[in-house]
Symmetry: C2
Subunit: 355 residues, 2 copies
């Protein structure tokens, strides 16, 4: 790799930050925890959350579930640059993976939700995502399905149990189970030195020595530690990088849209690198198709570094070592309203339609 | 129920057809077979078919899978009047259930496919459904995913194994497992006389005595028998029924669109009534929201009968006895192309994007 002469000062600043970060963390890379359940994450709550997660009837058109954009059969995302919600509408940002999302100090690219529960409320009522008019409509839709009412009452008690707070509580409980342990890196870190091949080990060492772990450290390679506050990173740091214009990285100002503070312009949450091989395309706008190109971009925009082809291959090999083991999930059976759909239920319903 | 005086002749014709049908079938109602596997439906072929069935990457936008409109987590349909495909486009007809679809002599409302295999080819390249430009694009998309190539080769051999014929062969093999046995009716028919309650038994008797079993007979209550030819039914028969205009039942000419023969105008395939409580809204255009109203409509348009509220309630109770047991399905893990999405892969791919 080569550093450009023009950025020595910036590098010294980054070095200082890196040293501070190195002090903050016992080690840069850590094995991922295998559980993250919170008190109260009962089996029935998790099952209810799973049903809600997969239920497209929580969207206005009955076509979009949480899983539509965060597909648990694959990388926990949708493989699209930006997601497609109800009526074919598309949003401005790339869907982050839901796998290991419990290991984030904040949710969304701009970190505007502090918790999984708060995050789950957003897409339901975003007009380009699930498109519900408001959370009242979500609750009303759920109440229209008797099997759900039974499940909510069994989980949250008989009184006023179908609420949006309880719905997202259940969804978050399910999401806390979405952990992919035992990647090659995890096995390597706990002592199995055969778990990673030579290219992966070279990639890991380069990843640590170049400064990637300044942000991508900790068990989810995103800076998160148990109890840590959300941190945000300036992206792109090196605005002269040719990739900034090529991939239009400055149109989206990121965190300042959430805080209203111009000082947060172009700050974003550091995404996890767990299973990053499965979640192309990359970056907040999904403009970069391949992982190798994504590594080039990050090196250029964040570290002002240009890797050789061998280094790129080693880093990409290391990324493959971040693919974890996915839990075996069984399909939920979604409860139905007998003899009547809850989607567009008001259409065609003549006065004789309820007899 | 009351017959109108104006339709005596039509009723005599129906009676003759009913008697012929009664002769053809040992009994009107039969327990559903628990398996329908064909020779060659190997475990690996079924697993491959399951993955393809759930894979939204078989659509142009990467958002619509077979399961989007035929949701196996619920009634095997989508709860919508007509389905929503890629880009929010909607089609003209209601999505039939995929559950027990192996027990149909033909597929689609107009029976234009004789087999499950042929059916599976249609939606992939329908512009309002999965929207692929052609089957070549489907095959190319599958070939872009190395894990699929491995699965196809393991199932169909090393030579030219990724073909559209093999893809739909696998999907159909999976669909042949989608059977819901042991409904209350099935248990009743094999001797458990406690399996149905009194209202359900009254409903069943009325269902048989009124003429519903003229079409809705056999193990799937759709006229199908092993090896039987596809049969189509004139709908609506009694065009003076007020429901014909109310629900716009004559705009869609049905089977003649498939055959080009005007003599087939307004003929449709008899849909199964298995799990009919779970597949609202009803009819080929999805215009009727509730099952009770659907029963009223059928009585009026097909039999020129008007049921009392008690009779309607008994018939609806009988329909509940047609809900079967759904198999426990585990999620497939869809293979990924490492570090690169196959959706819109040509976008943003600069010359340096493959390095």
């Amino acid at each position: 790799m080569k550093y450009s002469v023009t950025s020595i000062v910036q590098h010294l600043v980054l070095l200082a930050i890196s040293l501070a970060a190195a002090q903050a963390y016992a080690q840069d890379l850590e094995a991922i925890p295998k559980t993250a359940a919170k008190r109260g994450d009962s089996k029935e709550k998790i099952e209810l959350g799973k049903s809600l997660y997969f239920d497209p009837r929580l969207s206005a058109t009955g076509t979009v579930s949480c899983n539509s954009c965060h597909n648990l059969m694959e990388g926990g995302d949708d493989g699209r640059a930006t997601s497609m919600g109800v009526d074919g509408l598309t949003g401005p940002r790339n869907a982050p993976t839901v796998w290991n999302s419990v290991f984030q100090a904040s949710q969304f690219w701009d970190g505007r939700s502090a918790t999984l529960e708060d995050q789950a409320k957003g897409p339901m009522v975003a007009n380009v995502e699930m498109g519900m008019i408001g959370h009242d409509q979500v609750v009303s839709r759920i109440k229209d399905i008797p099997g759900y009412v039974v499940q909510f009452e069994a989980t949250f008690g008989k009184t006023d149990s179908v609420t949006i707070e309880n719905a997202v509580d259940a969804i978050a409980a399910f999401e806390r189970t979405l952990i992919t342990p035992n990647s090659a890196l995890d096995r390597y870190l706990v002592g199995d030195k055969q778990a990673m091949n030579e290219a992966q080990i070279r990639g890991m060492e380069l990843f640590e020595s170049t400064g990637c772990t300044e942000c991508h450290a900790g068990p989810a390679l995103n800076g998160w530690q148990p109890g840590s506050d959300a941190e945000f990173v300036d992206f792109p740091r090196f605005e002269d990088s040719p990739y900034v214009e090529k991939y239009d990285f400055v149109a989206d100002v990121g965190r300042s849209m959430a805080t209203g503070d111009n000082g947060d312009d172009h700050y974003f949450k550091t995404p996890t690198l767990r299973n990053i091989t499965l979640t192309a395309p990359y970056f907040h706008n999904g403009r970069v198709n391949s992982l190798t190109e994504a590594i080039r971009v990050m090196a250029s925009t964040q570290l002002d570094v240009k890797f050789t082809d061998q280094e790129l291959a080693d880093l990409a090999a290391f990324m493959e070592a971040l693919e974890g083991e996915f839990p075996n999930l069984t399909f939920p059976r979604l409860p139905s309203r007998s003899g009547e759909s809850v989607i567009h239920a008001s259409l065609n319903a003549g006065p004789s339609d309820q007899g």
